[in-house]
């Protein structure tokens, strides 16, 4: 009797507690995302892992003599321990070493270049600062293959690589660059480094700009010389940011696909991502094992970077009178440094665009005389009679191109809306319940897609979608894109929410403002620019994305980037360059329009 009584009380208390728990929007949001993200990230991951033990249609069937779907360790054996014909070495170990070499080199380069420029811009009286900081983020906004394509078109010649034609360097200047300079380790590391340098610049520059100038002044007063201040004060304080930048760039370079495809494959220089792509066609199981290895690296890197940022020596954000910082006078070195920097930036950011424009108007490759130029590839008609490549109209008159542009934009906007909104909600939930296990889980889950290489992510989603009949085409691409870009949005969402003190929302809560109204009328307006960056980043990334969608598109002319890929595979260089330029212009336009209209900018998010 007494026992049922206490049991009842216990039950009603439990009910009450549950009701209280569910009355908080943050809890519902977290629960929702815990379930959704588990389904959308962990489930595909697990299903991919089971694929590594499964026999697939085609060559695997013949090699293992097992039926499709049977359990096998064949893939593991092939990837890790097959010495015949150096198989494992060629497919896995060599690409792994190449990946590590490229990633380390490009990260170091990105940090050195980005960090030095960040220092020059924030801490010295460098000339042309405005120009430098405006143009420096260009390579990051542009698709990563831009520089790779540029490098190849500019330096290629008939002696190396695919030996097809001469680029500008060879045909105009008569200089034939050696193979190591045009293809393989060096250009891949350099191009990736240049692509991610803006990322280092944004992160390190942010810390330097927010760093209390008094910290350095205090050292000056205590008779510390300049170099000792930089080594003992400035660098150690920026160190956590530098390390986490290093790790993020490392992770991004590791999963990069388009750059090594353009600059590595012609000379059989493979990294994990390209090796994986080549295995994907006939040996799915092995490809998935490589994906798993890449994800493992990603997770290890994430854990490392969390350890780095959670130390006792954390950077305190008490800002003092930093506005009064005395900038280092570069003196006589100022103008030379500024000019060199501007030239480098022009080479990296502006010259590629000019090159693409040029390449899209010449009729015969390698001839840059005015008589060899035409605008037909842009606005010509009846081309099939005069030119031996592809479409009959220039790209601006081609309805297929316009449709692809429309689909690309629609996809980018859809992904941005879903990812951006989810990012804000995740940020809200995580920040409100910060420290709780649920919040940590959702936070990690929302970051997880970042660690999956785009190509692998596409492959996993393709595998998952094959089991669901209604999931294909635009819907599938939108889903994959939204999940893949969620990390950008959730990062900026979490950061923005953590900056906001709880009292701001509580003040509205007290007066009985409902939750959705608090979000729309109070929270969103305050952190508008951070939140909008959470929309902008997925949008821009989606617009220029190739590797994620390459496996998911119904036909390759569905979106612009895969169309570009198709054109360059077919060797329609002029059309390809024209479309490439079109993509870059659209991306830049979107970025600057949003930036001008809302003040949101790419600088505020994490990069990928």
């Amino acid at each position: 009797m007494e026992q049922t009584q206490t049991g009842k009380i216990h039950l009603s208390r439990l009910k009450g507690r549950a009701r209280a728990w569910f009355s908080k929007p943050a809890n519902i949001i977290l629960l929702f995302f815990l379930v959704t993200l588990t389904v959308l990230t962990l489930y595909p991951l697990l299903s991919m892992l089971t694929e590594t033990f499964t026999v697939h249609l085609g060559r695997e069937e013949r090699a293992t003599k097992l039926s499709i779907g049977a359990f096998t360790t064949y893939h593991f054996q092939r990837v890790f321990a097959t010495s015949a014909n150096d198989y494992s070495w060629i497919q896995f170990y060599k690409p792994l070493l190449n990946t590590l070499a490229v990633s380390v080199t490009s990260s170091v380069f990105a940090i050195l270049f980005g960090g030095v420029v960040a220092f020059l811009v924030t801490r010295t009286n460098l000339k042309y600062k405005k120009f430098v900081s405006a143009v420096f983020t260009f390579p990051y906004i542009m698709p990563s293959w831009t520089l790779a394509l540029f490098w190849e078109t500019f330096f290629k010649n008939v002696n190396i690589g695919l030996k097809t034609s001469n680029g500008i360097m060879a045909s105009v200047f008569g200089v034939f660059m050696p193979e190591w300079f045009v293809y393989g380790f060096f250009p891949i590391s350099l191009v990736l480094g240049l692509h991610y340098a803006p990322f280092a610049y944004i992160l390190i520059g942010g810390i330097l700009r927010n760093m209390d100038a008094n910290l350095e002044e205090a050292a000056t007063i205590l008779k510390t010389n300049r170099s000792r201040i930089i080594w003992k004060i400035t660098l150690p304080i920026v160190k956590p940011a530098m390390l986490s930048t290093f790790l993020l760039v490392f992770a991004s370079s590791m999963s990069a696909y388009s750059v090594p495809v353009f600059l590595g494959s012609p000379v059989r220089y493979y990294v994990l991502s390209t090796s994986m792509k080549s295995l994907m066609n006939s040996y799915k199981g092995q490809a998935y094992i490589i994906v798993a290895v890449m994800i493992l690296f990603g997770v290890a890197i994430l854990m490392l970077s969390q350890k780095v940022t959670n130390s006792r020596k954390q950077f305190t954000t008490v800002t003092g009178k930093s506005g009064q910082i005395s900038k280092i006078n570069l003196g006589k070195a100022n103008v030379p440094i500024a000019i060199i920097l501007v030239i480098v930036l022009l080479l990296v950011a502006i010259v590629p665009l000019v090159t693409f424009a040029l390449e899209s108007v010449i009729i015969k490759a390698g001839d840059y005389s005015l008589s060899n130029m035409t605008l037909d590839f842009w606005i010509g008609t009846g081309l099939e009679k005069r030119l031996d490549q592809g479409d009959s109209t220039g790209i601006l008159l081609n309805p297929v191109v316009w449709r692809a542009l429309g689909t690309s934009l629609a996809l980018a906007i859809t992904c941005a809306v879903i990812a951006g909104t989810s990012g804000i909600l995740v940020g809200y939930g995580v920040a409100k319940r910060r420290g709780s296990r649920l919040s940590n889980w959702v936070n990690s889950l929302s970051f997880f897609p970042y660690l999956m290489p785009s190509l692998a992510f596409g492959a996993i989603y393709l595998a998952m979608a094959s089991k669901i009949s209604w999931l294909h085409g635009f819907l599938l691409m939108a889903l994959a894109g939204s999940v893949k870009y969620l990390p950008f949005a959730s990062r900026s969402g979490v950061n923005a929410m953590l900056q906001l003190s709880g009292e701001i929302e509580e003040a509205a809560l007290i007066t009985g403002v409902p939750w959705w109204k608090r979000m729309l009328r109070v929270i969103f307006p305050i952190q508008k620019s951070s939140f909008l960056s959470g929309y902008l980043l997925p949008m821009v990334s989606c617009m220029r994305e190739l590797s994620l969608f390459v496996l998911l598109v119904p036909t390759s002319d569905t979106i612009l980037t895969t169309m570009l890929m198709q054109y360059s595979e077919k060797g329609w260089a002029q059309f390809g360059n024209a479309i490439n330029l079109l993509i870059i212009i659209v991306v830049l336009l979107v970025n600057f329009t949003v930036n001008k209209l809302t003040g949101a900018s790419i600088d505020k998010g994490v990069g990928g």
């Binding site: 910290l215 002044e217 000056t220 007063i221 510390t224 000792r228 003992k232 304080i237 305190t316 009064q324």
Partner: protein
């Protein structure tokens, strides 16, 4: 020991004038306060003396050595000026322990290890932070961080110490405590202190001389009590003292008869000469308005603020509000009639310029 001399110092940021034509003579061993509302140029002045900011014009001498001269192109960097600087937000290096923070400046002076150890221990003990030696700044409370910052600044034994609102980030109780300790420190270290604050009470209680500034222009440079009793102008009079001085518009005639706020009186100057016929503002400190039965004037009690030690009373006199301070634990009924009288001195400011023209007695 050292004396600091500023001559015609000015600082302009483009068109904006931060400090204008500043002349200041800081004698050795002084405790000088640069006082003023925010944006008045006090921090800029401090930073210019320390060398963290370059003046646009003028000449600065520390201890007989010219550290800055715009005309001769002399500009000694801060590390050559032999000064200490205590920042408002402490500026402790987050990646160094308390010990490392304090020892850093001594390492720059190439002291040997044992000597550094001894000196740091001495400072840790003096500021009562021995137990935090191995902690990082983020693991200390505001007050503890403040002490570490002081220890770091004092470590090399600077003869001139600059402090930029060092107490403004502390809570009220801690601030009181640190004030006492700073004053003691000034005595013990035998150095010249230059202190920036916007808190007039801090300036009054700490310094040997106060330099009060407004929009980049020096208003008055005098010992605090002199400034309190004989403010150079309305701005200074208003800034010094809490509750603030009563200001009543009035008119004075050449024969000394004065009329203000419906009160007719005779003005007898004790310093300065009898002002001529002009519109004036009469300044009366609240504690010089005595409420007693024999008072010749009448007023209505508008509100009272008893604090135990004293009571601030607002009086309504013919539509003018006067603030009086009565010492002791007294209170008055609101809306009751009281009599009051003026004691000690009043200050007469010229209405047009705000300048102090005379100080003297008001005889009703």
């Amino acid at each position: 020991m050292p004396e600091i001399i500023l001559k015609n110092v000015a600082k302009r940021f483009g068109k904006f004038v931060a400090v204008e034509n500043l002349n200041l003579n800081i004698e050795s061993n002084a405790f000088i306060t640069l006082l003023g509302p925010s944006g008045c140029g006090k921090t800029t002045t401090l930073r210019m003396i320390a060398g963290l900011e370059t003046p646009t014009e003028g000449r600065i001498t520390i201890d007989g050595k010219v550290v800055f001269d715009a005309d001769e192109g002399i500009n000694l960097p801060p590390n050559k000026r032999d000064v200490g600087f205590l920042f408002q937000n402490y500026a402790l290096w987050p990646h160094m322990t308390v010990y490392q923070n304090i020892a850093f400046g001594l390492e720059n002076l190439k002291w040997d290890k044992n000597r550094i150890r001894t000196r740091v221990n001495e400072l840790l003990k003096m500021l009562k932070i021995e137990q935090f030696e191995k902690r990082y700044p983020s693991e200390l409370s505001g007050g503890q961080q403040q002490r570490v910052a002081i220890a770091r600044t004092l470590a090399p034994g600077p003869k001139v110490l600059f402090m930029d609102e060092p107490l403004s980030n502390l809570d009220a109780k801690l601030r009181m405590e640190m004030r006492t300790e700073l004053k003691r420190l000034h005595r013990d270290t035998d150095s010249t202190f230059v202190y920036v604050t916007h808190d007039q009470l801090e300036a009054m209680t700490l310094s040997t001389r106060v330099c009060i500034m407004e929009t980049g222009v020096l208003q008055q440079y005098a010992p605090p009590l002199e400034m309190y009793n004989n403010p150079a102008n309305l701005f200074v009079a208003d800034f010094m003292g809490n509750p603030t001085m009563n200001f009543i518009d009035g008119h004075i005639k050449a024969d000394g008869s004065i009329e203000f706020g419906g009160i007719k009186a005779k003005f007898a100057p004790t310093s300065g000469s009898q002002p001529g016929d002009m519109d004036v503002v009469v300044g009366i400190r609240p504690e010089y308005i005595h409420i007693d039965e024999e008072g010749a004037m009448q007023g209505t009690v508008y509100s009272t603020l008893p604090s135990g030690m004293e009571t601030t009373v607002k009086l309504d006199v013919n539509g003018t509000t006067l603030t009086a301070v009565v010492f002791g634990d007294v209170d008055y009924d609101v809306d009751s009639q009281v009599s009051f009288s003026f004691h000690k001195a009043a200050v007469i400011f010229e209405k047009a310029t705000g300048k102090n023209v005379a100080k003297g007695k008001l005889i009703v």
